[in-house]
């Protein structure tokens, strides 16, 4: 605790006070987009030799405890998991509890995201098994962090930022434990088949290639070879067979649901109309939208317009759902480039259709690479908890400072040709457009359009978009963002700003590893 009391703060290029040291490591404050140019070489795992692995290829051991022991898990190490099984995952806690039985302490848990069902990690932090978590936290884990109970500082990274941090050596994974819906004894693994199928395993790619030691845990062991393999067995030390890696009902949704709220449907339709009016929806274009209710409805509206106008996309980016799968099957897109798979239709499609391709944070999002797919996408439709009059947006905290969401691919997606935030103008009575966001997650210079049920605000930096939609005499309700804000405040009243604490409990990293903002302890 005392080390955290002495945290030194610096103001970064976004005007935010951020710690200069996080969990004992010096930090670079955000310098502005595209300003930080690291030099040097990537991290690499140690060299291993085939002689140390069985010629039979059979790397199975009895259980996770044995595997962790043989990996040499010790106090203070970093243990990682992926979150493709979402709220249904049982492997992460299985691994952490096995570590507890071995008697190790002070682990840094490094999941690609955590979920409410993993709230038992709190107990493990209380017992000293986990020192702190670097990864998205929400629900009970988020509260534990923002109440200042975690011994270390939380570090929130985007999917691309997590890959970057591993690749650049900012986070060194000692042991990666990879839940695999299908695997062979050699460690080849895949997510698209098996009773716990989840689609892509892309989030585990960095872990499998950069960790010192890699354990694959599966509930569907198939004879060699496991085909296809997204995780290469050549990176895997041990394979553990278990009864179940997760609860299928919570791994993927049976069906993802479009919003039924008329107001949210209106937002979705306005987004689609905007992309059409701005000339973005044209032959060969590409887009990405998430699996939230508004995003799904947007896909449906856009699909109707694509049909009406005879327009076909070259590719769409997933999170895939049945709505994207339908686009593919109806010939409205050539490919789905899929980062994660949200429902059963998505899982079935990625397992059977060669045009439905699994991607990873390396191909899609990693900023320290020779380009990535995110900037090739013409339009992306995202959510946010708050956006300010300068188009800066917050996705990680509620406006009272509590952690609400991870960053996910959100920051990485801002590099698309046109970034659209689709938001209700107020939630409960709380206005979404504010003077200054509680936690800066994305700089306004990268956010082009905010679509609410009360109108569309175009970032003044994007005069081209404004010209494009107004030139054709479109009837879209385009308004200055301040106008929408004023109207909502007239309806709701101007909210008081909750007082945040002055003690950092987590940081938000930008895609290049610099520190964009601080999450403060709430009282």
């Amino acid at each position: 605790m005392s080390a955290r009391e002495r945290v030194e703060l610096a103001h970064n290029a976004a005007g935010r006070a951020v710690p200069t040291m996080v969990n004992g490591k010096p930090q670079i404050p955000f310098l502005g987009t595209g300003k930080y140019q690291p030099r040097g070489r990537k991290a690499a795992p140690p060299i291993f030799s085939t002689k140390d692995y069985p010629d039979s290829g059979d790397k199975r051991v009895a259980d996770l405890e044995t595997a962790l022991r043989q990996c040499g898990l010790r106090d203070g190490m970093v243990i990682s998991n992926h979150h493709h099984l979402r709220d249904g995952d049982q492997v992460a806690l299985m691994a952490l509890e096995a570590a507890a039985r071995i008697g190790v302490k002070d682990l840094m848990w490094f999941p690609s995201a955590s979920f409410p069902s993993q709230k038992n990690a709190i107990e493990l932090m209380e017992k000293g098994v986990i020192h702190h978590i670097e990864g998205s936290m929400n629900g009970p884990l988020g509260d534990y962090c923002t109440q200042g109970k975690m011994r270390g500082m939380g570090v929130l990274r985007s999917h691309g930022g997590r890959y970057q941090a591993i690749q650049d050596g900012e986070v060194h994974i000692d042991v990666a434990v990879i839940a695999a819906p299908t695997a062979d004894f050699f460690g080849n693994a895949d997510g698209s088949h098996g009773k716990s199928a989840c689609g892509s395993l892309g989030f585990a790619l960095a872990d499998s290639t950069y960790a010192d030691r890699v354990i694959v845990v599966t509930d569907n062991l198939v004879p060699f070879p496991c085909v296809p393999w997204q995780i290469q067995g050549n990176n895997v030390d041990f394979v553990v067979e278990v009864e179940s890696i997760g609860d299928p009902a919570k791994i993927v949704s049976g069906t993802t649901q479009i919003t039924r709220s008329p107001d949210r449907l209106r937002i979705a339709e306005l987004v689609a109309q905007f992309l059409r009016a701005a000339g973005i929806m044209k032959n060969g274009f590409s887009f990405q939208a998430g699996a939230g209710g508004i995003a799904l409805a947007f896909v449906e509206y856009l699909k109707q317009m694509m049909k009406q106008d005879g327009v076909k996309a070259r590719f769409v980016r997933g999170g895939s759902t049945k709505f994207l799968v339908e686009l593919l099957q109806e010939g409205l897109t050539d490919y789905i480039l899929d980062g994660q798979t949200f429902d059963l239709d998505g899982v079935k499609s990625i397992a059977s259709d060669p045009r439905h391709v699994a991607t990873s944070p390396f191909t899609s999002y990693n900023y320290h690479g020779k380009g990535n797919f995110a900037s090739l996408v013409d339009a992306v439709v995202l959510g946010a908890t708050e956006v300010d009059v300068n188009f800066n947006a917050n996705v990680v905290t509620h406006s009272d400072g509590r952690l609400l969401h991870g960053i996910g691919g959100w920051q990485n997606c801002l590099f698309a040709g046109c970034t659209v935030l689709a938001l209700p103008s107020f939630r409960d009575r709380i206005p979404v457009i504010v003077d200054k966001v509680t936690t800066m997650t994305g700089p306004g210079e990268m956010i082009d359009v905010v679509v609410t049920e009360r109108g569309i605000a175009i970032n003044p930096r994007r005069a081209d978009l404004l010209d494009a939609v107004t030139a054709q005499g479109s009837k879209l309700p385009v308004r200055p963002i301040q106008d929408i804000k004023a109207e909502v405040e007239k309806i709701c009243g101007k909210p008081a700003r909750p007082k945040l604490g002055d003690r950092p409990c987590a940081v938000v990293k930008w895609v290049d590893g610099t520190v964009l903002d601080t999450v403060w302890q709430v009282s």
Partner: protein, 401 residues
């Protein structure tokens, strides 16, 4: 209950709703006391942002209601101020205090008065006890919103709904939408009028009308309240015919007062009255609907169709709307915003009709400017009724645009 008990024991009551599924409403538990001043407790999902604003507003409202001693427990689910005020007033009223006193929210400027023959293709029903639907209703661009005090409001909630609807008329910006209220059947409906007419609704729907006298009674009461409040803008009336007798008296009802602007039909009750099943095709109500159209036209008012109750079946809704327009109706009710566009499209004249009307109107204007009595298009003489229809269609089209 003896009067001694009434004056010595605290009188408690509650109003509004709370719970996980409740949005934009508030629950108020009110306990009238004889001493001890005002005591307020607040639980709210928006407490960090609006907690002190809600406390301040509660004190203000109680002050306006003349309440000096009370314990008020507020459980807020993100209600807007005009809703909070309505719920406090309802709870206090139910506790038997502040009777005859009102706490009116800030007045949003009234829209221009409504024209008798304005466009009424769609009217969106908003249940009188569901405040979450009000604030964004006009964004879905119906021609009218209708705040309903009748069938969508439970018997025990009529008093609270009345206050809520009154505050809504006063505080909510419904943009260009006509602001309608459906009152209850008489005599309960007269209590509704006493609460809402002072806030200048544009039109009152009277349910289950069977006799012209019912319309005249409502008209008289509206006139009295208007006079008391100094309201001069019109408040139109749309009687709803929902029984065999009502249909029989359609023309008498439509002509009961000059303030009847439209006549409409309620098919659920009408088919129940006939003892027949209501179908998607609507053959069982063909006679009644034709009768309504004919009576309305004869009276010089609009004929407006019933609602279509399957909100998922847009194809049948479209067919219904097109048939309805072909039969002479000028609009219908919507029970979901998703129906509005389909209805507008169904009631939209075809491009051919519009083009023809445009030509006839141009010919008419030319004839007028030349002082000619006969309107002709090319070599063809146009009959006066055709001209009238074209003028009506063209002005409707301009309103629509």
């Amino acid at each position: 209950m003896s009067s001694a008990v009434e004056t010595t024991s605290p009188r408690s009551a509650e109003a509004g709703h709370w719970g996980k599924e409740v949005r934009s409403d508030v629950h108020v538990a009110f306990e009238a006391r004889n001493s001890g001043g005002i005591e307020i407790s607040l639980e709210s999902r928006v407490a960090p942002y609006y907690g002190s604003a809600i406390l301040e507003q509660t004190r203000e409202v109680l002050g306006e209601l003349g309440v000096k001693h009370a314990r008020v427990a507020i459980h807020d689910e993100g209600a807007l101020p005009f809703i909070i005020a309505a719920r406090i007033e309802a709870a206090a009223g139910r506790a038997g205090v502040a009777l005859g006193k009102r706490s009116l929210p800030e007045q949003h400027p009234l829209p221009p008065p409504s024209q008798k023959d304005r466009l009424r293709r769609s009217r969106l029903y908003l249940p009188g006890s569901e405040p979450k639907y009000y604030i964004n209703a006009s964004l879905h661009a119906p021609d009218a919103v209708i705040l309903d005090l009748e069938d969508s409001v439970h018997r025990g909630e009529k008093d609270a709904a009345r206050i809520l609807v009154r505050n809504t008329l006063r505080a909510v910006d419904f943009g260009p939408c006509e602001r309608m209220v459906r009152i209850n059947q008489l005599p309960l409906g007269l209590e509704d009028l006493a609460e809402v007419v002072g806030e200048s609704p544009d039109l009152i729907l009277i349910p289950k009308v069977e006799e012209p006298e019912q319309v005249r009674e409502v008209d008289r009461v509206i006139a009295e309240i208007k006079q008391r409040h100094g309201i001069i803008r019109p408040i139109w009336i749309m009687p709803i015919l929902e029984s065999a007798l009502g249909i029989e008296n359609a023309f008498a009802v439509a002509t009961a007062t000059a303030n009847v602007a439209a006549l409409t039909i309620g098919l659920e009750d009408y088919t129940a009255d006939l003892g027949v099943v209501k179908t998607v095709e609507g053959r069982e109500s063909q006679y009644a609907r034709s009768r309504v159209v004919n009576a309305a036209r004869a009276a010089g008012v609009q004929a407006i169709d019933s609602v279509f109750s399957d909100v998922a079946d847009m194809d049948s809704l479209r067919r219904w709307g097109e048939a309805s327009r072909a039969a002479g109706f000028e609009g219908m009710g919507c029970i979901h915003p998703g129906q509005i566009r389909v209805i507008h499209e169904a009631f939209q004249p075809s491009a051919i009709e519009i083009e023809k009307a445009r030509k006839v109107v141009a010919a008419f204007e030319e004839a007028e400017s030349k002082g000619l009595a006969v309107v002709s298009l090319g070599s063809k003489m146009i009959d006066p009724p055709v001209v009238q229809r074209a003028l009506k269609l063209w002005s409707g089209q301009r309103q629509w645009e």
